[in-house]
């Protein structure tokens, strides 16, 4: 098979070998731990929000290259973006993964997905889709938790005033 058809695009291998944003944040608003029983993949992810943005995201994990590379790509894309943009991107990536190899994305959406588009080939392998989604799902729940705890903090400070 030709290299361009491979599920293992060079971008994926590069991120697997040299992952970004790997490490534990010392200051964070939420921490989540997600596992994918198919491959035994694991990701522990922390986020810190500031002014409605994902100010920092750090993750550690182990498992197959698809799960680890996808988490690295995701982290590059969402750090510094607003929470709503990050969640919107997560939705697009989910759509891509559920497309079974036939994504219906606009030029604009493809642009937004950036390096994450390299995972398109994974969508043809239902057993591996969970691997690619692992970090994205972790990010989504971490952001939800951080947002909820920020809201309850501000609610309690307001109540205290």
């Amino acid at each position: 098979m030709s290299v361009t058809d491979s599920m293992y695009q060079q971008i994926i291998l590069d991120h697997y070998k040299h992952p970004n944003n790997r490490g534990e944040l010392s200051q964070f608003d939420a921490e989540v731990h997600h596992v994918n029983p198919t491959c035994g993949d694991e990701v522990t992810l922390r986020v810190r929000l500031a002014d409605g943005e994902i100010a920092e995201l750090g993750w550690v994990g182990e498992g197959c290259s698809i799960s680890q590379a996808s988490t690295s790509v995701m982290s590059d894309l969402v750090v510094g973006s607003s929470v709503s943009d990050a969640l919107e991107l997560q939705e697009k990536f989910l759509q891509l993964m559920q497309s079974q190899g036939h994504p219906d994305l606009s030029e604009e959406e493809i642009d937004a997905l950036d390096d994450a588009i390299a995972f398109e080939g994974v969508s043809q392998y239902p057993a591996r889709v969970k691997c690619a989604l692992l970090g994205w799902m972790a990010m989504k729940s971490a952001v939800a938790e951080a947002t909820a705890s920020a809201e309850s903090r501000s609610a309690s400070t307001q109540a205290g005033e």
Binding site: C39, G40, S65, R128
Partner: protein, 416 residues
Amino acid sequence: MFDVEVIRKDFPILSRHVHGVPLVYLDSANTSQKPQAVLDTLNDYYVNHNANVARAVHTLGSEATLLFEQARDKVAAFINAPRREEVVFTKNSSEALNLVAYSLSNASTTPGAERFRVGPGDNIVVTEMEHHSNLVPWQLLAQRTGAEFRYIPIDEQGRLVDSAIDERVDEHTKVLAFVHQSNALGTVNDVARLVGRAKAVGALTVIDASQSAPHRPLDVQALGADFVAFTGHKLYGPTGVGVLWGRYELLAAMPPFLGGGEMIETVDMSGTTFAAPPHRFEAGTPMIAEAIGLGAAIDYLTAIGMDNVQAHEAELTTYALQELMKVPDLKIIGPESPLDRGATISFTIKGIHPHDVSQLLDEFGIAVRAGHHCARPVCVRYGIAATTRASFGIYTTTAEIDALVAGVIKVQEMFG
């Protein structure tokens, strides 16, 4: 004369291409491919003879019944069963093993079945290398009855720890269930040793022969166990059919597992009496075409000769172990010596997840399995999440093993 190139021509699927390259199918331990003779038999049955068995007096019904019962004769001869009535058709190995476990369970409440009862103070023993199909049914039986569930551990080389056999199997052991050839490690267990110990303490013995039946001559009398289970789809036959062989004297005294049509002697609203084995354990319309197809697979294997199959695969195993062990950072999980070992080789590669290995090999046209192979305790034992597993069959060639080794090296280069 065993000629693998001639054999390959009997398996139409082997000429398939995947991802634009010729298929190298190294997943026969998962399921085997089917020879044309089996496919033709299935087709001929439905085209010319289809009817229900044992119920219809018309011509088609008689033909179907005859073909189905002839398949039983073929199985009986294949495993050297003393009596054809000892061959029970099930849907697969899992059902065959559950049949025994549930029959023992039903013995708790069946008058006259006291000798099959299992309860508090008794124990049930399996091994650490069991497929979940020969582990979970016994774990469940222990939970239902209050018996203790035990296992014989494995060592670094994937062999049973011999000294543990006499310790774990004791005078309170009611059942010893073990795999003949491990699907995860390739290990072939010492049946005489295990059955000998079980007999000495009066325990029933159950052998899971799912991975041995396709690869070596199987003689239930020589094995000496009470029950032997295997599955048709790994034996070059169709899915949906398996076999439980049991000693007639035991089957004739055991309570049924499933109730329904065909398994009764007479039914009254006040109670039912049961048919003699094997029909007692074959409730409902059986897998008629599949059993007949399995008979065709057995004819095919018998014509080749199981001794020849074993010799061919021993050669492949020796060659594959030798070649794989030359690959740097590749670790065999299971025996590294071809002695007492089957043609199923699990391995790990440093720094590369087994799912990545198998996915990439697939892109090169090579089908292997990755995962815990339904024997999760084996992975737990070795502290790994999964292995990559290559398994061979009658149609496997040394050129395919070369392709595997080259594929593995290519994967290492991509990840290096």
